[in-house]
Symmetry: C2
Subunit: 387 residues, 2 copies
């Protein structure tokens, strides 16, 4: 029942997320107005093609609390939909303000935490709450600001749509339509359920990554030389914006704290098991891992296999073929030309980081059925598989 948005859409907050929404909607041919406390952000977003600057006059609406009843504006140009993409701590105020300024508009947001936002909006604008429906596109970046925005940020991503019990059905449809128009698929979910889900799949990994990465600050430089790809992957998201993340985590404090306590408890427990398994050093190496250790690791492997992959395939159903290439312009072109000519579709690519090496190793992930054709094409063109 998705309704493509019609009429004007106002995006408040021209950061990474808001600007990306502007770009995606503009790509779809819609009229987007941009507003931000920081005029520099609006200028950048406009220059990227995310929309046009919204002045108060442009978008109708009341200029202050005293005029909330005359908000239709001089030219009837009140937006049908307002998308709020501001930092978590400001969401309640800005959403409530938008509901007051534009009495006919549906208002949604892009925030990472949903239940607290409903409460905050309800406290400020209870009479307009029916026109508010939360949203959370499951896409982002370690980067921030309008310059990092992309029209395709949401393509193929989930976009949680989180109505509260009082949300109007047509407002829910409008937000689902927004998600679809931005290239995402809407996933309807109650606000509290959403928060519980992201506590596990987004907020816990963020804190775990940050805590592990934090221990690197005091590591000897010599020791870091030994770092491999595993550590890099585990700590990549720890590079995210600390200000933004501290707000997100504080807004979802309860579910995140619960999971952190559980994770910490399991780590403590694992450490205790390890301590008990210390081998009598003078005589024996450790016996094959205690069942308690093995169970924790096995459970982790099982958990990873549950993650949906590209096209909904589970990641392990792709086969990975390693190909050696020299580190010079044109090598990748030659490789992909040879592979493409054979009609093989590459599902994923990874270049292994090898500090100081002149050569690169590319991992090509393909559908298992495509492996024979791929290997044949590689052999035929002299590519070095398996070294």
């Amino acid at each position: 029942m998705n309704r493509r948005p019609t009429g004007r859409i106002l995006v408040i907050g021209a950061g990474l997320m808001g600007t990306s929404v502007g770009l995606a909607l503009s790509r779809a041919g819609l009229e987007v107005l941009l507003e931000d406390r920081d005029p520099g952000h609006v200028r950048v977003a406009v220059s990227l093609g995310a929309g046009v600057p919204a002045s108060r006059a442009d978008v109708g609406g009341a200029d202050g609390p005293g005029e909330t009843d005359g908000a239709a504006g001089t030219d009837g140009a009140e937006p049908d939909l307002v998308v709020v993409g501001v930092p978590p701590a400001a969401l309640g105020t800005v959403i409530a303000d938008a509901l007051e300024r534009f009495p006919r508009a549906t208002v949604t947001d892009l925030g990472s935490v949903k239940a607290a936002t409903v409460v905050a909006v309800a406290a400020r604008a209870p009479e307009f709450l029916d026109r508010y429906v939360g949203g959370h596109p499951m896409a982002g970046s370690e980067q921030s600001g309008p310059l990092a925005a992309r029209a395709d940020l949401f393509d193929g991503r989930a976009w949680a749509v989180t109505p509260h019990p009082g949300s109007r059905p047509e407002a829910v449809e409008a937000v689902e339509g927004l998600a679809a128009t931005c290239g995402a698929f809407a996933v309807p979910m109650a606000p509290a359920e959403h928060d519980e889900a992201v506590a596990l799949i987004s907020h816990l990994p963020q804190v775990a990554s940050s805590v592990v990465a934090g221990l690197l600050t005091t590591a000897a430089e010599d020791h870091l030389v030994l770092a491999g790809q595993g550590l890099r992957d585990v700590t990549r998201i720890a590079a995210g914006d600390p200000d933004l993340w501290s707000q997100i985590l504080a807004a979802n404090a309860e579910p995140v704290a619960k999971l952190l306590h559980e994770t910490a408890e399991r780590m403590h427990q694992f450490a205790v098991t390890l301590e008990k398994s210390v081998p009598p050093a003078e005589t024996e190496l450790a016996a094959p891992g205690a069942p308690d250790l093995r169970n924790v690791l096995e459970r982790g492997a099982t958990g990873v296999r549950r993650l949906p992959g590209k096209h909904g395939m589970r990641p392990e159903t792709f086969a990975s073929v390693p190909v050696q290439l020299r580190d010079q312009p044109g090598e990748l072109a030659r490789l992909f030309a040879d592979v493409g000519a054979a009609g093989v579709n590459i599902e994923d690519v990874r270049i292994d980081h090898s500090p100081g090496t002149p050569a690169g190793l590319v991992q090509l992930a393909v559908h298992p059925d495509a492996v024979p054709a791929l290997l044949q094409a590689l052999a035929q063109h002299g590519w070095d598989v398996h070294g």
Copy 2:
């Protein structure tokens, strides 16, 4: 002072690591003999070109404990170097056995934990300990077995070389030569220091990844739909072999347990801080993150920046340029051909996983100086940057 190995090299244990060493040494033109408890592993390794099967006669050496003094063999073909690539729990026995069988050979291993191995070898073959020097190539895979082996597994990687105080200098040189011949760079380190280093940069991230991934086993399927790239990265290594990892962790129990306790304590502390920051739900959203939260996250970001990147560059010094492509054969070829023609060197490539999407987004990482040329080339050929 690296000495390229000469003469025969015996690899005991034809799994992922041992077979990769065999492939790398064979690539360098050296004579490699392969031995494994499992004849199937030897067959696979031989078929990949990692060496030839070693029978007891081939490699000289004593057949049993009763003949350790006559180990030079019938044709003087005792190996100069023995590389032991067996599971952690078997290392002490197999290394001590090799030292006895080949009284002139240097013996090294590929194990992930070094101090306990020295102790285990010393307990079994104290009179031959001077010819043992530990080694640990910092490369691997979530996969295991000889089929996953690659000649280039060690190219450009660190290879820890861990002599004990009684190791002969020429034995140390032989192992450094082995590392160099396999394409790696030797990093000399005392065994205990090595174990402390890998506890932080390898073993802690492994357990953290497994514990976080383990919590996914009980997650609702609906919630997992929201999973993004961050969770995938944090949990990737949790797919590793639980048997192998439980042995590795048990063999480095003390340093790992210490770090796990510290990590768990920091997580608990973070959770407590979060609980204190729970906003009065009826009135306010969370205030901007408490300094205590922000500090932990900031510290993580600082830790990540310390990791050396490709070519020794820090990862953040590469610029990332997103390019949209259709999900069909030939698109990557066309992209890289256009980029290669412009003389731009791609340092890293990532295709974002987008469940259910027909389109792909490629992140091209390049040296910052190369960005203008890259953008120009992309624009010129009609590629969609920034959407």
